[in-house]
């Protein structure tokens, strides 16, 4: 029983990690609490749903096209809703993000209806049995995907020129631009990558839970925010770790404590973790330079 | 009894020792300069005195009372106030409001007083306003009281920060590089101001400065820090002729230059 729950917890954690990765990346670079991230995730999932069920595409190409389309939408959103606000504190873009979130979710609500929709059978589900635990192929895909994307992302940020520019922008945008970095371009790129990651998460989660609905981004956004903060804002391995911890806490909390208190349990643990480590599990310590 | 006394102060950050067994004594009414090359630990000393850091070992006494380990705000209330190396005024508040916040520990209205009006609160508010204007006048900014402080020119921001620190009516004022980034004219003005603060208000001044002319011109006693250690202390002329000081400044610079080449 415990091992089964553990497997479920890890899978759910990998899902949260997937959403949190893109979130944390955008967050790390422009410091925006992007409440629209969840809705971008919903949109990515929608594209995949449309492509697989209406266009009857296979999942692999649908997955890639969904990521591409979503990153385009991400670019547009950045240009329209965030770029004009780059110099105006941190709460104005936050409200703007809420506007984008309401816009996207009601738009899809209008075109698709509020009903939850299932994905067609796009992945042949096989089961691997290890004693009492049963692991499905989808679960394996999700865990593998989130680890792969984390490594890829970390590679991009730490080892490439673009990543170097991103890190420069995250430390000090003005200095970065003085160094000849095109800050606008880098931020746009960050958004594109972040949105593509959100889409990847959306597709995987949509397939795994077999559910798409216009408001699915709302709770996903909160979970991503929570996972990112728990792991340490801006830290890519932190987002991964935060997601996994959150998933485990949710599953094990509802299995061994009270399932009706699930969210309260996970937030209590979050607050306790933050009190012990005020900048998250893997976050850099905030130094108040005097 | 010295006004401020640091005994055997050591401060370590991880493996780095920023301040190393430092002893300092400031008598009441002096202008005391602390100099040293970059990274010598001058600002750390200020942070230790004001309670931002807690020393790894050693003790700090103010008016005979031990203050290390106390929270910064209560150290301020006891009569130590400071300015910052990189100006830290309250940018989107007016110049007058900045100074009024300096009056915080000299007034006592709490939340309830501010809501329930009475003769006491009115009197106190009037007192805050008058005193704050006095300090603004002292630094020559009385005509700019309603201007948002971030819109003031650099030199005036520095002076505003000093006025804010004075508004606490400190026994001792810690100035962290008050002349940094100023032109000659402004530097002379700052030196005048420092002298006036001591002469008219009787405030002891503890000064960290990079600019030799300013330190030497205004201080009565100067101490030199190098790698967290005090290597010399005396009158400006004594310090200027001290071998170790010259070595710390010039010798190092010479070594560095060689390395860079």
């Amino acid at each position: 029983m415990f091992l089964t729950q553990l497997v479920h917890g890890l899978t759910l954690g990998a899902c949260y990690a997937l959403i949190a990765l893109g979130y944390s990346m955008v967050y790390g670079i422009i410091g925006l609490i992007n409440f629209a991230h969840g809705d971008i995730y919903m949109l990515g999932s929608f594209f995949a749903l449309y492509l697989t069920s209406v266009v009857k595409m296979k999942i692999a190409p649908a997955f890639l096209i969904a990521m591409g389309l979503t990153s385009l939408v991400g670019l547009v959103i950045e240009r329209v809703a965030y770029k004009p606000l780059r110099r105006s504190g941190r709460l104005s873009p936050l409200i703007s993000a809420i506007g984008v979130s309401i816009f996207l979710s009601t738009l899809l609500n209008m075109y698709m209806g509020p009903q939850t929709r299932g994905f067609p059978d796009v992945i042949t589900e096989l089961q691997v049995k290890l004693g009492e635990i049963v692991i499905t192929t989808t679960q394996l895909y999700i865990v593998a995907m989130s680890i792969a994307l984390m490594l890829l992302l970390r590679h991009i940020v730490m080892r490439t020129r673009v990543g170097q520019a991103m890190r420069a922008c995250s430390w000090d945008r003005e200095v970065a631009s003085l160094m000849g970095i095109n800050v606008d371009q880098i931020i746009a790129l960050t958004f594109a990558i972040g949105s593509a990651l959100a889409a990847a998460a959306g597709v995987m989660m949509g397939v795994y839970f077999n559910a798409w609905w216009p408001l699915m981004g709302f709770s996903a956004g909160i979970k991503a925010f929570t996972a990112a903060v728990l792991g340490g804002i801006g830290s890519i391995p932190g987002a991964m770790l935060g997601g996994v911890v959150l998933g485990l806490v949710e599953i094990l909390g509802s299995a061994y404590l009270q399932s009706s208190y699930r969210d309260a349990i996970s937030f209590t643990i979050l607050i306790i973790v933050l009190l012990v480590r005020p900048s998250g599990l893997l976050g850099r310590k905030i130094e108040q330079k005097v | 009894m010295a006004l401020l006394e640091l005994k055997e102060i050591t401060m370590q950050f991880g493996g780095l020792t920023a301040v190393d067994h430092l002893d300092l004594r400031l008598e009441e009414g002096v202008i005391f300069g602390l100099i040293g090359p970059n990274g010598a630990g001058k600002t750390t000393v200020f942070n230790l005195v004001t309670g931002v850091y807690k020393p790894t070992s050693g003790s700090i006494y103010f008016k005979g009372e031990r203050i290390d380990g106390k929270p910064p705000y209560s150290i301020t209330a006891m009569g130590i106030s400071r300015t910052f190396q990189n100006i830290r005024i309250f940018k989107s508040l007016s110049a007058l409001d900045n100074v009024k916040i300096g009056r915080h520990c000299k007034s006592s209205m709490n939340l309830f007083h501010s809501v329930i009006p009475g003769p006491f609160t009115a009197r106190e508010e009037r007192d805050i306003e008058e005193k704050s204007m006095e300090y603004l006048r002292m630094v020559g900014l009385e005509h700019k009281k309603d201007i948002l402080s971030k819109n003031l020119p650099y030199g005036e921001q520095r002076r505003l920060e000093i006025a804010r620190a004075l508004a606490c009516e400190p026994k001792i004022l810690l100035l962290d590089e008050p002349a940094a980034g100023m032109n000659r004219q402004e530097k002379t003005e700052i030196m005048d101001l420092v002298r006036r603060i001591r002469d008219t208000l009787g405030v002891t001044v503890f000064l960290v400065e990079h600019d030799m002319k300013v330190v030497m011109g205004v201080s009565e006693t100067v101490a030199v820090l190098d790698y967290g250690k005090k290597i010399c202390e005396g009158t400006p002329s004594q310090v200027q002729s001290d071998e170790r000081v010259i070595e710390a400044y010039l010798g190092r610079r010479a070594r560095r230059t060689r390395k860079a080449v």
Partner: protein, 401 residues
């Protein structure tokens, strides 16, 4: 100082007033037209207005949208047949997002600006309670299509509902479970943030206790959840005869998918919250055999119901669910009362509404009891078979003493 304070406060007040003046000045033409004395709306030959109260966006939008679709069909039919008292019906549509404040806003708008004769909705019990207080105060009839929880009609004599109410249905169904299916040990699943679910679960608990069926395990979910793994694992371990799941169809379908994944091959039974084609559209076979009790039966329907099902399919290209049916019936219930009372004045036709007896609707036969609670008989127990609900049993109910 004091003068300054006064000035600043009065400026603030001025600001409010100017803002609110903007509020009320918004629709001057409309208002002057509607500021006529209230008798006028009842006497003239204009359309009889019915307010639709429900969410078209937000979390509970699917209930509101389908209720509205059902209402529209009924109104079309009635108008095509000459309307009520020679006047056509007209639905005033406003979205409330499922937000209580907006529900209050919309209801106030209905009763004061639109001067509707009746308000139909809200599909949720909580929303209905907020709206009911306002309707009662303003003497406008409210018929809830969906509020099944307790404490609704008690709000006042203008408040009605046309649902299968749980206090009557649940004991009957539990008795049937014991007698016909021989269940002895069950799991109870409740969605804690859904008032429908919490209310029905409480009734189930009482009824199960009374019938001597053991609740082996009680598990909680939340509306909006997609992950039910730990709940299903625990239920599977509890080794029960069946699961009682008074929850809505989306969570129901996802829960049943998870149950099938984990090899929990026991039957779920739930209330009309589960009655939606979403069950098999989403769950691809995982819901096979799942049971639902409701007043509405798409299988072996009578004439009226069959006509209704065909019409929904034809107009909206979808299978009707509970909300379509309740919305549709609510309009007929109101129209019937107006006809019998020969008046569209709420204070008059509410009496006729309270005397409704054996009204044939798509959800069965409806009688309003003396305490203004509806009695629907029989209760249909349906079973998911392939892509449809098949009638499994008809459980008769009688009015409680």
């Amino acid at each position: 100082m004091n003068v300054k304070k006064l000035i600043s406060l009065s400026i603030a007040a001025l600001l409010i007033v100017s803002v609110t003046a903007g509020c009320s000045g918004g629709q001057p033409t409309q208002k002057s037209a509607e500021q006529k004395p209230p008798e006028q709306k009842l006497a003239d030959t204009g359309p009889i207005k019915i307010g639709f109260l429900g969410a078209l966006t937000g979390n509970v939008a699917s209930y509101g949208i389908n209720t509205l679709k059902g209402m529209k069909l009924a109104v079309e039919e009635i108008n095509a047949a000459g309307g009520v008292l020679g006047r056509p019906l007209e639905i005033v549509i406003e979205d409330n997002r499922g937000d209580k404040t907006e529900i209050a806003n919309v209801t106030k708008k209905f009763v004061t600006r639109d001067k509707v004769a009746a308000v139909i909705g809200d599909p949720t019990t909580g929303g209905t309670k907020v709206a009911a207080a306002i309707c009662q105060e303003n003497k406008t009839v409210l018929v809830s299509a969906g509020a099944v929880g307790p404490g609704v009609v008690e709000i006042g004599d203008y408040i009605f509902r046309d649902v299968v109410i749980d206090p009557i249905a649940v004991p009957a169904v539990v008795k049937w479970l014991k007698d016909s299916l021989k269940w002895k040990r069950v799991a109870l699943i409740v969605s804690v943030n859904n008032d429908y679910s919490v209310g029905q679960a409480k009734l189930f608990e009482d009824a199960l206790k009374k019938e001597g069926i053991e609740i082996a395990i009680k598990e909680s979910i939340q509306d909006g959840d997609t992950v039910f793994t730990s709940q299903v694992t625990k239920i599977k371990k509890a080794n029960v005869d069946g699961m009682i799941a008074p929850i809505y169809y989306t969570e129901g379908a996802l829960l049943m998918i998870e149950a099938k994944k984990q090899g929990l091959n026991k039957v779920f039974i739930g209330g009309d919250g589960l009655l939606s084609p979403v069950l098999w559209e989403l769950a691809k076979g995982a819901t096979e055999g799942c049971m639902v009790f409701a007043g509405f039966s798409p299988d072996e329907p009578d004439e009226i119901t069959k006509k209704f099902i065909d019409k929904v399919k034809q107009v909206y290209n979808e299978e009707p669910d509970m909300f379509h049916a309740q919305g549709y019936d609510a309009v007929y219930l109101v129209a019937d009362a107006m006809k019998r009372a020969n008046s569209a004045d709420p204070s008059v036709f509410k009496t006729a509404l309270a005397q409704t007896k054996d009204l044939r609707g798509v959800c069965g036969v409806l009688t309003i009891l003396p305490n203004r609670e509806p009695l629907r008989t029989p209760i249909n127990v349906l079973e998911v078979k392939g892509q449809k609900f098949a009638l499994k049993a008809r459980v008769p109910v009688t009015a409680p003493q």
